[in-house]
């Protein structure tokens, strides 16, 4: 069995998993209106307080200069290492890093005292390797918005095949003018807090976060959630590089492959739910096609915005918390049904007895992924 273990989330809503879960349960929203020099109108993003990052990083000790993403990643991974007590120098431990853009702010010439080569993801990874004295070079996965959940699935595969016992999965991306200007050029950004699956949704909010979870075959480390990863799959729509399949083909294929036979056990689906018109519509169709229409659905993007490479890891962790507390998290921003698939949204925080959930994601390049998590039966 492959278990989920200790975790951390660093976001505008807090610097630990507990702070984030409690914030979400009290319906705190990280996205706020901000003004940017390159846009005359303000729009909503979720940004972590820079001073707080520096304070927390400096409190860890005296280190060589680090970028914002490196600091956030060190803080997040460090928290999981302290909680779990695992040995980073162990030959049986791997770090998988999930990101879309890594140290992209290096391209803006933001840093005077940092080698520009750290724009290269393997060089960024080697910074983390030397910081934590990891035995193996971290493996970087960059597969658009499915990176986070796919990294968890890949961690499971590596452990199952006997390559490692412990895989730390860290997902991270920062807010940058690079991504903001790009999504704006697509007209994919909402000026207001995003409304996943709602009839009045107009697009995404971008957010920043770093989240880390330990995946392990050691039952004694399963204690935080007593949950296992049952199955996971990815699939490509083979349809369009920047738009999802209208019929949800790739996501439907993933859902078929993760074999969700015991539907009555599944408490909810943590959807990708970016709040773009096409994405949420596609997901509703895929869930409906897969016969999952009795299972309530949420998107956490209404709280955090889209945190890109972090999203799949962050949303999996909060879903595990949700299962631990037997409490469904409200799909923030949803009011009126705005999709054609026959699915039910979670419109308020609700107590529910359940033993498993599905996490899904879809992204540019036509990629989709889904994974099934389940409580260990004692």
């Amino acid at each position: 069995m492959i278990f989920t273990s200790y975790s951390n989330i660093i976001s505008p809503l807090g610097f630990s998993t507990k702070e984030n879960y409690e914030a979400v349960c009290s319906s705190q929203v990280a996205v706020k209106k901000m003004v940017f020099p390159f846009s005359k109108d303000p729009f909503c993003v979720a940004k972590i307080n820079d001073q707080l990052i520096d304070q927390c990083f400096d409190a860890l000790g005296s280190f060589n200069p680090a970028t914002k993403l490196e600091k956030l990643s060190v803080l997040s991974i460090n928290d999981v290492l302290i909680q779990s007590g695992i040995d980073t120098q162990d030959d049986r431990t791997l770090l998988i890093y999930s990101t879309t853009k890594g140290n992209i702010d290096i391209l803006e010439n933001r840093y005077k005292d940092i080698d520009a080569k750290r724009i290269y993801l393997p060089v960024f990874a080697s910074y983390l390797q030397s910081h934590f004295k990891l035995k193996h070079a971290p493996l970087v996965l960059s597969n658009a918005c499915i990176s986070g959940i796919l990294a968890i699935i890949i961690a499971k595969r590596f452990i199952e095949q006997g390559y490692y016992d412990n895989v730390l999965v860290c997902g991270g991306d920062i807010l940058s003018e690079f991504t903001i200007s790009g999504f704006k050029s697509f007209n994919a950004m909402s000026a207001e807090p995003s409304k996943p699956f709602d009839a009045k949704r107009t697009g995404i909010n971008l957010g920043e976060a770093v989240a880390t979870i330990l995946i392990t075959n050691k039952k004694e480390l399963a204690q935080p959630y007593n949950a296992q990863i049952i199955s996971g799959a990815s699939a490509n729509d083979a349809n369009h590089i920047s738009g999802p399949s209208r019929t949800g083909d790739g996501l439907f294929q993933c859902l078929e492959e993760i074999k969700t036979e015991n539907k009555e056990e599944i408490g909810f689906i943590s959807a990708h739910g970016t709040a773009t018109p096409f994405n949420d519509e596609m997901e509703s169709i895929a869930f409906d096609r897969a016969g999952l229409n009795t299972i309530p659905v949420n998107s956490l993007k209404g709280y955090y915005g889209h945190t890109l490479g972090a999203a799949g890891v962050l949303e999996t962790i909060l879903s595990l918390e949700s299962m631990n507390h037997q409490r469904l998290i409200k799909s923030e921003g949803f009011e009126t049904k705005g999709f054609s698939g026959n699915i039910t949204m979670i419109d308020s925080h609700t107590n529910k007895s359940f033993t498993s959930f599905i996490k899904t994601a879809s992204g540019f390049g036509g990629c989709n992924a889904a994974a099934l998590f389940k409580k260990i039966s004692n």
């Binding site: 020099p37 390159f38 879309t100 853009k101 890594g102 992209i104 391209l107 803006e108 724009i119 290269y120 993801l121 393997p122 990874a125 080697s126 070079a137 493996l139 970087v140 996965l141 960059s142 597969n143 658009a144 499915i146 796919l150 890949i154 595969r157 590596f158 095949q161 390559y163 003018e177 690079f178 200007s181 790009g182 999504f183 704006k184 050029s185 697509f186 799959a233 990815s234 699939a235 490509n236 729509d237 083979a238 349809n239 369009h240 590089i241 920047s242 083909d249 790739g250 294929q253 492959e257 992204g363 540019f364 390049g365 036509g366 990629c367």
Partner: protein, 215 residues
């Protein structure tokens, strides 16, 4: 037994298939010019090719050359065919292009047609669309070609629902470029244009080093 059945390798303005150079352009041609010439030799009409960024064009062509003489797309279930690619620079070349379009606030012209290519896995998407391949995806960013990672990960996929895979390396970084793509599958077939090498780290290293580029 999982086998590598064919591979293609593109660098130094040359295209090699299964170790033999089958096309070359003068070194004086730019990458863009070389890719146009290589595309012409395939004698295909695929208008989407012309919209791609250089990395996608390079990966697209390398896959076309690896597949061309095989029955890979006929023998294998394309819903169970994976695409696993890697490089060291992610999408850095196109990232620089997008960054240049936003550096000057008085001349600000970010383009969605450029931005969409600022993710390395778009190359996977382009291959998937061309061949209607809908299986597993993964894009790894590694310091150099990690033959062990590619062989092991594809073997992992083939031990489960996956039946075949397109895997390799596709990178454009400034004037440096290289693509190396191999086809792997579970099924045995008798196509005379196929090589049969066991899918493992040493086979991947062997075929990567097979081509004599200096000739």
């Amino acid at each position: 037994m999982n086998s590598i059945i064919s591979y293609a390798h593109i660098k130094h303005n040359r295209v090699s298939v299964n170790g033999e150079i089958i096309f070359q352009s003068p070194d004086t041609l730019s990458l863009s010019e070389f890719l146009s010439e290589a595309y012409k030799t395939l004698a295909i009409s695929y208008p989407k090719f012309h919209k791609m960024d250089l990395q996608c064009k390079l990966g697209f062509l390398c896959a076309e050359f690896a597949i061309k003489e095989t029955d890979f797309l006929v023998v294998n279930d394309l819903a169970k065919t994976a695409i696993v690619l890697s490089n060291a620079a992610s999408s850095l070349e196109t990232d620089r292009m997008h960054q240049n379009s936003i550096n000057d606030k008085t001349n600000y012209f970010p383009s969605p047609a450029v931005f969409v290519y600022t993710l390395p896995n778009i190359t996977i998407g382009e291959l998937a669309i061309k061949h209607k391949i809908t299986g597993e995806n993964a894009f790894f960013v590694t310091e150099g070609l990690d033959a062990g990672l590619l062989a092991n990960y594809v073997n992992m996929l083939l031990s489960d629902a996956t039946e075949a895979a397109i895997a390799g390396w596709v990178e454009v970084d400034g004037t440096n470029f290289e693509a190396f793509i191999f086809l792997a599958q579970k099924a045995e077939n008798i196509n005379k244009n196929c090589i049969f090498k066991p899918l493992n780290q040493s086979s991947v290293i062997t075929i990567y080093n097979q081509t004599q580029w200096t000739h």
